[in-house]
């Protein structure tokens, strides 16, 4: 099982944080462009899901899966978006994202008075804690290739 990369977007679509662990295929465009592309796609999927759903869905879009990887999507009521790409075997990534929000984002960004909100996260402690959380997760087993 592998975790590939993580995006955090603000309510307005600013890329707050990006990090990657096992990403073999580069997109070939700059990080900013890639973030815009990613956000645009998620925005479209969200409205697509809510329009096309035959029933009232409480949570809306949760994840999608290709033959190679799964994209997990977690959005808070405040509009913060957490996106995690894993391989297809990782089922519990959603809980991991919730944990990331609760135990790392809330603690080390919201409670840090020196962190500007809705701007890319600079705090080194936050970066460290994110890495720590994912590396101790059972989903994180980097296959050395």
């Amino acid at each position: 099982m592998t975790i590939h990369n993580l995006y955090i977007f603000s309510k307005t679509g600013t890329l707050l944080y990006y990090t990657e662990w096992n990403r073999l295929n580069k997109s070939g465009i700059t990080k900013e462009e890639e973030a815009k592309l990613m956000y645009g796609m998620l925005f479209s999927i969200k409205s697509f899901v809510s329009k096309i759903s035959p029933l009232d869905s409480k949570e809306g879009f949760l994840y999608y899966k290709t033959s190679k990887y799964t994209l997990h999507y977690f959005e808070t009521p405040s509009g913060l978006k957490f996106i995690l790409n894993t391989d297809n075997a990782s089922q519990t990534a959603r809980e991991l994202l919730q944990q990331l929000y609760r135990e790392v984002y809330l603690e080390y960004v919201i409670k840090n008075p020196l962190c500007q909100l809705n701007e890319p996260i600079q705090s080194e402690l936050f970066k460290m804690k994110v890495d720590e959380l994912f590396k101790k997760s059972p989903l994180f087993l980097s296959r050395s290739i």
């Binding site: 603690e107 080390y108 409670k111 840090n112 020196l114 705090s123 080194e124 402690l125 460290m128």
Partner: protein, 175 residues
């Protein structure tokens, strides 16, 4: 650090998240507000002393309530000990980790995981070290105010070399 985690979990059960954060958020806004008021745009002594004065008034009042059930203190050291244990744990959910004194009116109170700093920085990074004095000014005043109401006139300064630990130097003025 470990102690801190246990403490915050225990308090989550009894007091709730909002109770715990309210002080931290209010303090953060207080610091921002005072600094934004500064005319020159630079972080001068004046702005920090305003924060320190706010702390002083708060400390002066708080001590009335905290010492309600207590008998009178024997001496100066007794008061400082009270500050390190009961006072600190009721405000910051932990006790002062280390207290040192030269027995001539100088006390050094060291907190290895100070609550207002432990979300800000880690020991292996120098980030935010420059900004940390503004997060400590209020607490310096708090200490000075509390001691003032107990009858000790003092000057309190803070120092940080590695976040999130900090030292408060209390210098008692002999009259």
């Amino acid at each position: 650090m470990k102690q801190q985690i246990i403490d915050s979990k225990a308090s989550l059960g009894t007091t709730g998240e909002a109770d715990d954060c309210l002080f931290e958020y209010l303090h953060a806004e207080l610091v921002n507000y005072v600094l934004s008021k500064s005319s020159s745009g630079t972080e001068g002594e004046e702005e920090l002393s305003r924060l320190e004065w706010m702390g002083f008034s708060v400390g002066y009042r708080i001590i009335e309530r905290l010492t309600r059930e207590w008998s009178r203190f024997k001496d100066e050291l007794d008061m400082i000990k009270f500050i390190c244990t009961d006072f600190w744990s009721s405000l910051y959910h932990k006790q002062i980790d280390n207290l040192r004194t030269n027995h001539h009116g100088v006390y050094v109170l060291q907190d290895n995981a100070f609550r207002l700093l432990d979300k800000v920085g880690a020991s292996n990074s120098k980030q935010y070290l420059k900004e940390s004095p503004r997060l400590l000014a209020f607490t310096c005043g708090l200490l000075r105010g509390s001691l003032a109401n107990l009858g000790i006139i003092s000057t309190v300064t803070a120092e940080t070399t590695t976040l999130p630990s900090c030292k408060f130097h209390v210098q008692v003025q002999k009259i």
